[in-house]
């Protein structure tokens, strides 16, 4: 059970949205991290067969994405801007999407109960979609995505806009679902990845910057994260010179967190990197190496929105 992406390139006209990406995603939670415009949504849309690729190969559990009917049967998708017909009842909406997924009446009936229970919405079956809160709607989004019991679940920025409690609940739900399937989670919120994913990939401006475990990524930032207590004026000067990932104020003093190749100044002390430090360090490293070609520009998710 794997998603294999081999030298994948996607162009929109002369704009390169994905540049020669190669990636293997196995069972469990897989995080796709990147800034807005990095190419995450484009990649997910190609895997869900909503977008055609320009070059390369993508197979989902051994099936090439060109065989869209077969791939769609195996994939559950929660798009970034998830919504449903607002006037429909939750149960009816799921039933409708179940029909579109080719499920027979009996299976639909059983699975709807099951997935609503899984996402803790059992008592909302007769509520109208428009009556649900943002968090409930997101959970309904997961319910519809796993309704046909897919081998692969793809969720695009699922926690955006959720309050902390809902976000934790949502992450736990995804972890639960990842026990017996591939769950591919795309986000620009590092925290989501850190607490749920073992393996991740980092995309930036269409290029793959990193693929590996969270641990390895954090290890790579060791000895490059420093803290120091400095006054406010000094902090401003440090920000000019170094990449600062944290700034906590105590009166005139601030506790500053810096990413640097070497100890930046005498008072700085090495500290344990967080996932966010490691991610930022990786981005910084790539920029410093000057690997980017300015012509490679992601064209933005909305550009590829299905008409």
């Amino acid at each position: 059970m794997e998603i294999i992406i081999d030298n994948l390139t996607k162009k929109f006209g002369d704009k390169i949205a994905l540049d020669d990406i190669s990636l293997v995603v196995g069972q469990g939670m897989f995080g796709l991290l990147g800034q807005n415009g990095a190419g995450k949504t484009t990649l997910m849309r190609i895997i869900t067969t909503l977008l055609n690729k320009t070059a390369g190969e993508v197979t989902v559990c051994g099936i090439p994405v060109e065989k869209s009917g077969e791939v769609r049967r195996m994939v559950g998708y929660l798009p970034q801007d998830f919504d449903l017909y607002p006037g429909m009842r939750v149960g009816d909406a799921l039933d409708y999407l179940g029909i579109l997924s080719g499920m027979d009446r009996k299976t639909r009936k059983g699975n709807i109960q099951k997935v609503l229970r899984q996402v803790n919405l059992s008592n909302c079956k007769n509520l109208k979609v428009k009556a649900l809160s943002g968090g409930m709607k997101r959970r309904l989004g997961i319910a519809q995505a796993i309704l046909h019991d897919p081998k692969v679940l793809i969720v695009d920025e699922p926690t955006a806009g959720l309050d902390p409690e809902e976000r934790i609940r949502f992450r736990n739900l995804l972890s639960e679902l990842a026990k017996d399937r591939i769950v591919m989670l795309s986000t620009h919120i590092v925290e989501d990845i850190q607490s749920t994913c073992e393996n991740i990939a980092i995309l930036d401006q269409g290029k793959l910057l990193y693929q590996g475990s969270v641990q390895e990524l954090m290890m790579s930032a060791r000895e490059h994260v420093f803290t120091a207590a400095v006054n406010k004026d000094a902090a401003d000067a440090i920000k000019e010179q170094y990449l600062v990932t944290g700034l906590t104020g105590y009166g005139n003093e601030v506790n500053i967190r810096i990413l640097a190749e070497e100890k930046p100044f005498e008072e700085a002390v090495v500290c344990e990197p967080t996932m966010e430090d490691a991610y930022m360090y990786r981005l910084q490293q790539e920029k410093t190496k000057g690997k980017y070609e300015s012509k490679i520009v992601g064209t933005g998710g909305a550009a590829h929105e299905v008409h």
């Binding site: 704009k15 807005n36 190419g39 029909i99």
Partner: protein
């Protein structure tokens, strides 16, 4: 089974939309105000049981449901250009319009009021004087006097100059020296000044002559034997319902097709396993079913009404006539309207389907006669009760026309499916659109 479930779900969703209720309202409105109004007087005739009845103006009229007998002596009227009838009636129409300088014309089947310039208006007044011998102001005096007499304000001898005869308001006596040829020349002149389809075009409609016994038998035979009464009314029913089905379903279809975009669930739907042909097929079928079912429901009271009317006379009736005509005449129209709107909406994701359909509807309406010329109109006009002979003469045209529109509709549905299949694979993205969008959503 899954397909049926899908169609059922789609039907439920259509049934909850406001535009669908608006469509039902318009359909009912046309049924009650147009079709019902036309058949009301006939049903009175049926109830009377007499072949010849006298109307409110004291004129004979024919009850078409009673078999004519050779001994009747009167068999009804048909339109005819009889100068003695045409000229006084046209003169009355000219008086009314010339007096107010407000002339009606119907260049595109819709009324257009024309106001003449000073010279043309003076010429129109001259024409009135030439054909009647009165000036407009003189005739105003006559009308005023007649009104006062009717009100009992003056007696007939109250005026020394003008003799008020039995001239009715809708007929004005014609100058004795005027020939019909001269009259027609002046009518042509008026038509040139006012425009086409004015009160001075098609003079035949101002006159009538009695029909023969043989023609009366033919008419009766067509209505009762061939059409079994209900067939004649079914064609009128289809005429009015066809006008509705040729345009209003476009509103429902366009709104329905766009609802995925409005609700923001296209990705969700597109990423499902269902083949595009099934998805489009189910939605199309649901739209057609939901808009055709009310028509079939209206067939029930329409049939019931005719049935209860003619059963008093013991006439045969085809109880399925309304259903048969609806399926063969109306269903292809509905199929075409929905498929074209669906295709254009899927293609452009705009409401352009309504505009295109509206233009087609309007052009067809203004270019097609009320009865006959069925050739390529996407909705058939037969705005007449009876007219079996005209229908019979065009039955092959109708057949070809209807089959052609069904084929075109299916073709459009297939094209829509192919279009959707491409979109679902992301193969329908305009370059301009992809460049325009900001870089904040990947």
């Amino acid at each position: 089974m899954k397909f049926i479930d899908l169609v059922w779900q789609e039907c439920r969703m259509i049934g909850k939309s406001i535009l669908y209720f608006a469509f039902l309202f318009v359909l009912l409105l046309f049924f009650s105000s147009q079709y019902a109004a036309d058949r009301a007087s006939d049903l009175e005739n049926i109830a009377s049981g007499n072949r010849v009845t006298i109307n409110q103006y004291g004129e004979k009229s024919i009850n078409p449901f009673i078999e004519p007998k050779e001994t009747d002596g009167f068999y009804g009227y048909k339109m005819a250009e009889v100068p003695e009838q045409v000229m006084p009636r046209v003169a009355a129409a000219l008086y009314r319009e010339c007096r107010d300088n407000k002339y009606a014309s119907y260049p595109y089947r819709f009324i257009k009021w024309v106001k003449l310039g000073k010279d043309k208006q003076e010429r129109a007044e001259e024409i009135f004087q030439e054909i009647t011998g009165y000036t407009i102001s003189e005739y105003n005096g006559i009308v005023k006097k007649k009104y006062q007499m009717q009100q009992g304000e003056i007696s007939e001898n109250g005026d020394e100059n003008i003799t008020v005869d039995n001239t009715r308001f809708y007929e004005i006596p014609i100058s004795e020296t005027l020939t019909y040829q001269q009259f027609k020349e002046r009518m042509l002149e008026l038509e040139e000044m006012i425009g086409p389809e004015s009160s001075y075009s098609d003079l035949e409609r101002y006159g009538r002559e009695e029909i023969s016994y043989e023609d009366a038998v033919k008419e009766y035979d067509g209505l009762v034997q061939k059409d079994k009464v209900s067939g004649a009314y079914a064609r009128l029913f289809c005429d009015y319902m066809g006008i509705v089905l040729a345009i209003f379903p476009a509103f429902v279809a366009v709104a329905y097709v766009r609802r995925d975009k409005r609700a923001g669930i296209r990705e969700l739907v597109y990423s499902r396993q269902i083949p595009s042909i099934k998805l489009i097929g189910a939605r199309y079928l649901a739209l057609v079913l939901m808009m055709f079912l009310p028509v079939l429901v209206l067939c029930i009271p329409a049939t019931q009404e005719i049935y209860s009317g003619v059963k008093l006379l013991g006439l045969p009736i085809d109880v399925l006539a309304f259903f048969k005509y609806s399926i063969t005449w109306l269903l292809p129209t509905l199929m075409f309207t929905v498929s074209l709107s669906y295709f254009l909406t899927e293609l452009t994701q705009t409401a352009i389907g309504i505009l295109v359909q509206g233009a087609l509807w309007f052009l067809t309406l203004i270019r097609t006669p009320l009865v006959g010329e069925y050739e390529w109109s996407f909705f058939l006009r037969h705005n007449s009760i009876g007219g079996y002979a005209a229908y019979k003469a065009g039955v092959n045209e109708i057949l070809i026309n209807r089959i052609a529109y069904v084929i075109v509709s299916i073709g459009l549905v297939l094209m829509t499916s192919a279009l959707l299949a491409r979109k679902r694979k992301g193969r329908w993205y305009g370059k301009r659109r992809s460049v325009k969008v900001p870089l904040d959503r990947q």
